[in-house]
């Protein structure tokens, strides 16, 4: 299974997101430290979930990071996270 697919599945299982987008940005970092020749090392996640309600930015990212602990310890070198509640997502849409 691809790393992006695994990220998606783990986030869906952990946070039941109302919206989720996982973008593989590895090609923007090719050849740079931490980039793997096979790609799939740099990701951006936009996630919308009820679980973020009442939590500050640090706590929200910790929820995402915890769900992806294995990936961050392994193939994922960089992960950019945007974590929103449904209302916040609507306001920025």
């Amino acid at each position: 299974m691809s790393v992006s697919r695994r990220i998606e599945e783990k986030l869906i299982a952990a946070l039941a997101p109302a919206g989720l987008e996982v973008v593989d940005q590895s090609d923007q970092h090719a050849g740079h430290a931490g980039a793997r020749p096979e790609g799939e090392s740099h990701f951006a996640v936009i996630i919308v979930a009820e679980a973020f309600r009442g939590r500050n930015r640090v706590d929200r990212q910790r929820l995402v990071n915890a769900a992806l602990r294995d990936e961050l310890a392994g193939p994922v070198h960089a992960l950019s996270i945007k974590a929103l509640t449904p209302e916040e997502a609507e306001a920025t849409a």
Binding site: H29, R57, V58, Q61, R62, N65, L72, S80
Partner: protein, 112 residues
């Protein structure tokens, strides 16, 4: 006191400097785009900060992740408090919250 000797080094940096950025490379020569982005924000705001190059000390590089319960670098501390990584610093800056946080904590910035 702590089981991890790197924690003492990390705590020391945080105690001795109002604004500390644990980063890859130095403020002048960042070795990673995310670290560079935070340096750019702080520099733009005219904030005086201490850069700690985690690439220079493997124990600190691994230790800071556990210390902060945060798996990635860069990591920004202000007056002993963990603020966040690159995404958070950028978001806070864009929302004007970083300026407010620094002001509340008595850190000087260039008047915007």
């Amino acid at each position: 006191m702590s089981e991890n000797p790197a924690f003492d080094t990390i705590q020391g940096e945080i105690d001795q400097n109002d604004v500390v950025l644990f980063m890859k490379g130095t403020p002048v020569f960042p070795q990673c785009g995310f670290s560079a982005a935070v340096v750019q924000v702080l520099t733009h705001m005219g904030v005086k900060f201490k850069g700690v190059d985690v690439l220079a000390d493997e124990a600190v590089r691994q230790g800071i992740k556990e210390f902060s319960n945060w798996p990635t670098i860069p990591q920004l501390y202000v007056k002993g408090e963990f603020v966040g990584g690159c995404d958070i610093v950028r978001e806070m800056f864009e929302a004007g919250e970083l300026q407010e946080t620094l002001k509340d904590k008595g850190i000087e910035t260039v008047a915007a």
